[in-house]
């Protein structure tokens, strides 16, 4: 099918600037195709910004970046009405949120007040400033980055707000071979690299999105999904299990993943591929469980039978 070629080309294009991170690039694209917002959590300098900018470029989207700081106010993102002396009226100066792809850098460095203003906009696709509701452009994506919360001076996002992000990714250190190639190319900063070619246009994006709606999820697959969800709710390792919204997110992502792999139906692999990204930030390990979030997903995946209970 044609779509798959387009998607593969997009992945390869982004791969030029983010070396050796194909799975993450695919998941990030999957998240955007599924109309979800993306949270990238990693240490500084791992390529979070590069990834989000590259995504914007291959999708041909307008792109803005907001660096979140502790003194950032909601108006700094949403925009303000300014009195125009010539017109003798107020005119609205839209904030950086009025863009197609917003990179919210270090979202956990700002105060909860500003965080929730952003998250509200993400959930509703519109902003209300001074009683006037203004729609955000379509498509509208937020790629937020976050430092691991044990760094000082951060306001960790509560679970209820983490839930607004469809996926959370960790980029991790590059493979030594990829890192060597990067060092040879000396293409680290955005300034000295060429703008990537747009690989997916608006029509293709719509095509992908409508294809996702057509994907079939069989009873067998839904059984497996429900077993996964039930396990997180019943097992002692989890303090908080997956919510129904989490289950929906899982299915939606899996369907998108199926489309990206040129399939009209979801197979268990699709679920397993998106599971870590979709579920890890929605699950809270219980107090007695000391393993990490990813180990928890691993446990979930290993213990839930694909075929039958």
């Amino acid at each position: 099918m044609q779509l798959q070629g387009v998607i593969d080309a997009a992945v390869a294009e982004v791969g030029q600037v983010l070396l050796g991170k194909e799975p993450q690039i695919r998941l990030a694209l999957c998240c955007l195709f599924a109309r979800g917002h993306l949270l990238i959590e990693d240490l500084p300098g791992m390529g979070k910004t590069t990834l989000s900018q590259a995504l914007a470029e291959v999708l041909g989207l307008s792109w803005k970046r907001v660096q979140f700081t502790s003194d950032l106010l909601p108006a700094d993102i949403l925009g303000v009405s300014v009195y125009d002396r010539n017109d003798a009226s107020f005119s609205f100066h839209p904030g950086p949120i009025f863009t197609q792809l917003l990179l919210a850098d270090e979202i956990n460095r700002t105060t909860p007040r500003t965080q929730s203003a952003l998250l509200e906009a993400m959930a509703e696709g519109q902003v209300t400033v001074e009683g006037e509701t203004r729609p955000l452009p379509d498509p509208f994506f937020v790629v937020a980055t976050q430092n691991p919360i044990h760094q000082s001076g951060t306001y960790p996002l509560p679970e209820s707000q983490l839930d607004r992000f469809l996926m959370r990714l960790e980029l991790g250190y590059p493979h030594p071979r990829a890192e060597r190639e990067m060092l040879l190319r000396q293409q680290v900063t955005l300034a000295n690299r060429d703008v990537l070619t747009q690989r997916i246009d608006g029509a293709q994006l719509d095509a992908i999105r409508s294809a996702v709606g057509q994907v079939h999820a069989s009873d067998n697959l839904l059984d497996y999904l429900q077993r996964l969800v039930a396990y997180t709710r019943q097992s002692a390792e989890f303090e908080v299990g997956l919510s129904p919204r989490g289950a929906l997110a899982l299915l939606e992502s899996a369907k998108t993943w199926a489309v990206m792999h040129n399939r009209g139906h979801v197979v268990p692999e699709d679920l397993q591929m998106v599971l870590p990204a979709v579920a890890s930030h929605r699950l809270v390990p219980s107090g007695d469980y000391a393993g990490g979030g990813m180990a928890l997903i691993d446990l979930l995946q290993r213990n839930v039978d694909v075929i039958r209970p």
């Binding site: 079939h216 002692a236 303090e239 139906h265 268990p268 107090g287 839930v304 694909v306 075929i307 039958r308």
Partner: protein, 670 residues
């Protein structure tokens, strides 16, 4: 430490509860400082939990352990013996708590807890203790369950309910084990209890001994008659026969002091229907048993002495049940040997001159030995002798002279003593018999309960032609004692059980208290008969009754068979549970494929998808790659693809899948 190894908070709470409930029944027996250690350990552990204290260091631990040993040595004077050992165990149990960090430690503590629960039975096997121990087992099991509920932060009833269900499920197996498991004798001896405070008869008798015993409301033994219960005045439970008087104390003959020819009882001619009954004795730490005269016991280990009493070869450490047949009218030892006559007439040469003189005078005044007996009893009856639980002490070398001519107040042993001295002085062979007289009939289950306060001493005299005849001088002084029991006899004095204000026996006049007491006693009797008294002999009998002649092989078969009988329903219910998840034909067929793969060493992991499995299988068996792919892709189509075609097409595919799976027969090394 891995998270699985941590001890959850609720488990810790359950453990501390267990600690105290397990120690509680021992509390009265152990020194006070051990109780202090329990409180100390619990407080320390809780402070550790709340982070205010830390776990003890190595040195502190060694110090605590050594001081535990030292304390027990100082308290008991020894580290060996039942009480010190149990105290040691209890101390270790408490101290273990403060070094409890991981789940492994918790296992040690809780399994030790089960063991401590059992040690209680070395001291008492009372029904209430059994119920209490069941509670303890439940609590320990609850703690074990809680140990495996890391997510449960609340201290809730769910845990205890689960433990209860588990124990109930174990119940049938317990019953089978109780009845079927071979009762092998102990491989090592449990150290004997060193209690000296235990009430009961001792092997010698001085004036005042029986009256002391009468202060106790403890049960001596319980009797169940096969037929009618005899009148209380006929129930003289013979225990010890005292034939020698030395230094003011009556003693029984030592076995080895008796000539060989005199060691066995003489043949007794029995006639008429015997009284059949069974007795359950409380442990006495002594050898002798109680019975009505003339008794025969068909029991392994029960011996008959030359004086027609019964005894055991080993001291009675536990409750003991034996069956006896008695012929009250039988004539005992009609022909008296010279040695025995001499023995039963012996008196210390210089003692009690006044008494002897009186006896000789009385004997001269009558024609026969029988009349002499009557004359002495008449003297007790008509002269102002008083039956009392509070007799005066009898100091000096001649206690009977003091008693007969000065104080004239005495309990049964005084009268029996005086009577036998007089008989012997008058030339009539006589001896003192110690035992119990009467007993309380429990209307609930028709058992006779004999208490310590029924302790009694009476006399036997030998009369020509009649042999040994029972004479109870107390009956001449206080007929009420024999007819109605001690309480009535002492009604005016108010001294009955005055030292046991809490004994329910004192409140017999309150109807419901009395009924409750009797009901409980009946329950205890049943418990003792069916559970405590169920020994290897009875087990053998039961198995023989049910299964015929028992051989080792048959026994093993019965044992295993009964286990199977209990476990099979469990297995069936487990299988049922699994079967309730109806597998679709598709899954079933796919699982057949998986089991074939497992047969050649490729086991499916639960989280593995069909494609991943196929990938592994292909690599292991390249020759079958095509087949594996075909099956996997067919399964994928059927399981996950949208059903586009008609139902017929679907069933056709399924049939095809079945066929392919059926044809898939991998062999190792393919």
């Amino acid at each position: 430490m891995k998270p699985q190894q941590q001890v959850p908070r609720n488990a810790l709470v359950w453990m501390i509860i267990c600690l105290f409930t397990l120690m509680a029944p021992h509390a009265a027996r152990i020194p006070l400082w051990i109780l202090a250690i329990y409180v100390f350990s619990a407080v320390w552990r809780m402070l550790v939990y709340s982070g205010r204290w830390s776990f003890p260091g190595r040195r502190v631990k060694i110090l605590l352990t050594l001081s535990g040993f030292a304390g027990i040595y100082l308290s008991y004077g020894s580290l060996i013996g039942l009480e010190p050992t149990v105290a040691l165990l209890l101390t270790a149990f408490a101290l273990k708590l403060i070094e409890l960090t991981s789940r492994k430690d918790a296992y040690v503590l809780l399994f030790l807890g089960y063991f401590i629960c059992i040690t209680e039975f070395l001291f008492t096997q009372d029904l209430l203790i059994v119920l209490y121990s069941l509670l303890n087992v439940l609590l320990i099991t609850t703690a074990l369950v809680a140990l495996h509920q890391p997510g449960e932060h609340q201290f809730n009833r769910k845990t205890i309910r689960l433990a209860g269900i588990m124990l109930l499920q174990a119940m049938p197996l317990m019953v089978v084990l109780f009845f079927m498991f071979p009762r092998i004798g102990p491989l090592w001896a449990v150290p004997a209890k060193s209690q000296t405070a235990k009430t009961g008869m001792s092997d010698f008798m001085k004036p005042g001994d029986v009256s002391r015993l009468s202060q106790s409301a403890d049960v001596a033994f319980r009797v169940q008659f096969d037929g009618e219960i005899p009148a209380p005045s006929q129930m003289y439970w013979r225990g010890l026969v005292f034939s020698t008087l030395q230094e003011g104390a009556w003693r029984s003959l030592r076995y080895y002091d008796v000539p060989v020819a005199e060691r066995r009882p003489q043949e007794v001619l029995t006639s008429g229907e015997p009284l059949n009954y069974s007795i359950i004795m409380e442990p006495t730490q002594q050898n002798w048993l109680y019975s009505l005269r003339y008794a025969q016991a068909e029991h392994l280990g029960v011996m008959a002495a030359a004086d027609f009493s019964l005894f055991l070869l080993v001291p009675l450490e536990d409750q003991y049940r034996y069956n006896v047949s008695s012929w009250p009218e039988a004539l005992l030892e009609t022909a008296l040997s010279d040695w025995r006559r001499k023995t039963e007439l012996q008196l210390p040469a210089q003692d009690n001159p006044q008494t002897r003189q009186l006896a000789q005078e009385l004997r001269r005044g009558v024609a026969s030995d029988g009349d002499f007996v009557k004359a002495v009893l008449n003297k007790f009856n008509t002269e102002p002798y008083i039956y009392t639980l509070q007799p005066e002490a009898l100091p000096g070398e001649h206690p009977m002279d003091q008693f007969l001519f000065r104080t004239r107040r005495g309990f049964c042993e005084h009268y029996a003593y005086a009577f036998v001295v007089m008989m012997r002085a008058g030339g009539v062979p006589a001896r003192v018999v110690a035992g119990y007289q009467g007993g309380e009939v429990n209307p609930v289950n028709k058992t006779v309960i004999v208490h310590q306060f029924d302790a009694h001493a009476w006399a036997e005299v030998w009369l020509a032609g009649q042999g040994w005849v029972r004479v109870d001088p107390t009956a001449a002084v206080s007929p009420e004692r024999i007819e109605w029991g001690l309480e009535q006899a002492l009604a005016g004095e108010g001294s009955f059980l005055e030292n046991s204000p809490l004994s329910p026996l004192r409140y017999r006049s309150i109807a419901w208290v009395n009924l409750l007491r009797l009901r409980y006693d009946a329950l205890t009797y049943r418990w003792q008969t069916w559970v405590v008294g169920f020994n290897s002999e009875q087990q053998f009998q039961l198995l023989q009754n049910v299964f015929g002649e028992i051989s080792a092989r048959k026994f093993a078969a019965v044992l295993l068979g009964s286990w199977a009988l209990v476990l099979i329903p469990v297995a069936i219910s487990l299988l049922r549970k699994r079967a309730t998840h109806q597998l679709s034909t598709l899954d079933k067929q796919y699982l057949i494929f998986c089991s074939r793969l497992a047969g050649v060493g490729i086991d499916r992991e639960p989280g593995e998808t069909p494609d991943q499995l196929a990938h592994r299988a292909r690599q292991a068996m390249p020759a079958l790659a095509a087949r594996i792919d075909q099956i996997t892709s067919l399964h994928g189509d059927l399981a996950y693809r949208e059903k586009a075609g008609s139902p017929e097409l679907e069933t056709d595919l399924l049939r095809q899948f079945k066929k392919v799976v059926a044809g898939f027969r991998p062999r190792k090394g393919q």
